[in-house]
Amino acid sequence: MTAAQASVGGPGSNMGGGLEGPKERSRLRALLLGPNLLRAAWVTVASGAFAFGLVVFLRWLQNMPVLEGDAITTVTLLAAPLGFLVGIGGFDYWWKWMIGSPTEPEDHSMHGARSWRDYFRINTDHKVIGVQYTVTAIFFLFVGGALAELMRAELAQPGQQIVDSNTFNGLFSVHASLMIFLVIIPIFAGLANFVIPLMIGAPDMAFPRLNALSYWLLPVAGIMMTASFLVPDGGAFSTGWTAYAPLSTDAPLGQNFFTIGVQFAGTSSIMTALNFLVTIITMRAPGMTFWRMPLLVWANFTTSLLVVIATPFVAGSQFLVLLDRTLNAHFFDAAFGGDVISYQHIFWFYSHPAVYIMMLPGFGIISEVISAKSRKPIFGYRLMALSLMAILVLGFTVWAHHMFVSGMFTWLRVPMMITTMLIAVPTGIKIFSWLATLWRGVLELSTPMLFALGFITMFTLGGISGIMLAAIPVDIHTSDTYFVVAHIHYVLFGGSIFTVFAGIYYWFPKMTGRMYDETLGKLHFWLTFIGFNATFGPMHWIGLEGMPRRVADYAEKFAGWNLFISISAGLLGISSLVFLYNMVVSWKWGPRAPGNPWRAMTLEWQVSSPPPIFNFDEIPQVVGGPYEYGVPGAVHAVMNGDRHKVAVPAGGEASAGEPGTGHGAGNGKGAGNGNGNGTVTRE
């Protein structure tokens, strides 16, 4: 506590007064006390030491043996990350404001990136944060992928070869946790962070400092979950990402790295979601009505609502596990009147909506890519937006379909089956509308489009197997088998990750200012597409045949397919190296990207690549829909200086046709965020 206070107070007093003494000393002080990784390191250590001292002191007061590893580690897991966030500078501004130090609203010293070093410090620029999110998520994609390759190596043959069953259980638990909490959820937040303010014509997110803080929670969660392998007694958490009680409440220390790690990842996603909501509601450019927003913005709006409503439930479920584990709270201990099934209800009340949190932003990306690459307006734009809302509502009514064989209250099963099946309707609307958008378009089959089309095929398969799993009698046989493993990977890999790749390739020129290599991109797509299907396709069959999931060993009759799957997984791993090479080399040496290489109409393409530091020299005036391809003379927005040339149409006749065109105008002014150029005069 004291260490943390001193460090936060440090830079304020440091910068305020006139510095005396030699220059080196002040540089050293800035290095140690300024918001940077070095300060983060020592404050983290200090917080850890404080946690250690606190536990030892409290245990000494209670006459307990003072050096108890589990208690010390648990309190450190809570305290050290907070120290890290303080050290990196996540609270500096608020702290200064709180203690009455002078704060400057126009202070942009933490904004924008001038060198790669700026990505390793706290930064309030949504574009920098977007890149930080995306790169961090890709890093963990490779960590999680490596864990999957280890699993497949073990599963190549029946029996035990390279890891014991405890390590194996740790591998799939950490794999799933990283892929969900550190890859798919944050990578969408990263892409959206970069793109959304640009798309709605805003200079930044509504709360840039909160945005920075929510990013830095992420590496904390990722390192914590990955580091659980280092726990000497029992290793990584090994109860699956579902962490079902009472297995999780009785598990060794590693489990706490999950229960606490989830808190940090969850806090990060709640804060980001709030930020998106406020940004989308209040910071749209003049003329950007809800019915003129690109579907990516709609998708993230819906997703953010899901996150804000659902995520507290997973946080709660893991807190209850933590309380059971550390304080013997007996929430889930049947011997003391606890209820085991209630864990699953709370957990899935988040974790089913989480499936849509991991999918809806991808729907948004696909809409952007397919419209721009087919050179056609999105077919049925309004129904596309409304179907997102339908998924949002229905998404909260289906959680118990994960529990058809759990022994829960039997009456609940059939209603949950019907709602689950009905979710196929809005999802089907999206698939059919994309297909109709392709129809009679001018399809440019570059890498983002290939991934978008690959997504449609793979996600349709994943959706179909989802319907089959929703049918209770089929689910009774297939739940907790490899059929489910196949289904979730078709939805989350063939679905979400394909949209992520589509999005990364699509916005790569915008984010980096460089073009990626198209040939390598296509190679990456085909290797991934083939490797993916060869890996996860056969899993449907071995699941139906009777192979349960989450097993390090299996019956001899599954040996052939498992070997085939493991080899295919190797191919899939190699395909990701093509991606990595393309990204790294293109970012460094790729040809310079023009502002709008795809001739797209949405706002982010109307500025330079990469965009200027506050996005727009002048906040644009939106005059029409975002996807008016092929409509003669249609424009989405009037940009800098051109305003006098175009008479702003009163009703925006080229758009989806909303009478209240000027509705968003008042919002644009508030969006200035200290950028003097941001004010708009309306004609």
Binding site: V442, P473, P548
Partner: protein
């Protein structure tokens, strides 16, 4: 530009893919052999859903394939597609038809569910207890307890009461198609009528710790005479014949 309507291509490809897919779905033995009366209707449901799925997937693929081949950008074409913003009729159709289809599938599934969980006359009761990492079976009626194997008489309806000692397990016999979690603190139930003589495996399908992958027990479906011989042998070897009754009336885990 070819003159044939692209819709005809879509139709042809859909029919061909559906035919191939249906043939694959119905001829490949996707599921293990059926060893319970419940497995029959469940497999029929699976096949019906699979065939519908094949058709839906074939239609989606056909539209995709035709779009990619017919509407692909030709070199140097800088033009745009037709500015079609939507078609309310079409949108209503692809909202309503899937809704009817999935509701139908839901109703059919509910009927099958009701069917397989129907209590039958002459049902015998077995208590299956999961513990890390083994199953034990108590037959209160026959005075057999803590048996390591599950023996069932062919053609007899059974109610299996499932319990767990310390953590969750799941009782699953793939050949029966039936599964139910074993939950500490409560008793769950599954109804099975085995109808095929043979030896199968009870597979634990809920992660239960280190030995989860090897938590298996043997199920033997046999005729009444073989079952009686086995039960008699069990009673001889068992030191506390009354234990089974006590176990079946007890509360939660100890």
């Amino acid at each position: 530009m070819r003159s044939r309507s692209p819709f005809i291509d879509v139709g042809v490809i859909t029919v061909v893919l559906t035919a191939i897919g249906t043939w694959v779905v119905l001829t490949v033995p996707w599921l293990p052999e059926q060893a319970s009366t419940q497995a029959g209707p469940m497999d029929t449901l699976y096949n019906v859903l699979a065939v519908i799925s094949v058709f839906v997937f074939a239609a989606v693929m056909a539209i995709l394939i035709v779009s990619v081949s017919r509407f692909r950008r030709r070199f140097g074409d800088e033009g745009d597609g037709d500015p079609i913003h939507g078609n309310t009729g079409l949108e209503v159709i692809w909202t309503v038809i899937p809704a009817i289809l999935v509701t139908g599938a839901g109703v059919y599934s509910a009927i099958v569910l009701n069917d397989i969980e129907e209590p039958k006359a002459g049902t015998r009761t077995i208590v299956a207890t999961g513990q890390q990492f083994a199953w034990t079976f108590d037959y209160a009626g026959e005075g057999v307890n803590k048996a390591g194997q599950l023996h069932m008489v062919k053609g007899t309806p059974y109610l299996v009461n499932i319990r767990a000692k310390e953590v969750l397990h799941s009782f699953w016999v793939p050949e029966f198609r039936l599964k139910k979690d074993a939950v500490p603190g409560m008793t769950t139930h599954v109804r099975i009528t085995p109808n095929r003589i043979g030896s199968y495996a009870v597979v634990c399908s809920e992660l239960c710790g280190l030995g989860h992958a090897t938590m298996r027990a043997t199920v033997k479906v046999e005729d009444q005479a073989s079952f009686d011989r086995w039960a008699a042998e069990q009673r001889r070897n068992s030191p506390t014949p009354a234990g089974g009754a006590a176990a079946s009336s007890g509360g939660g885990s100890s």
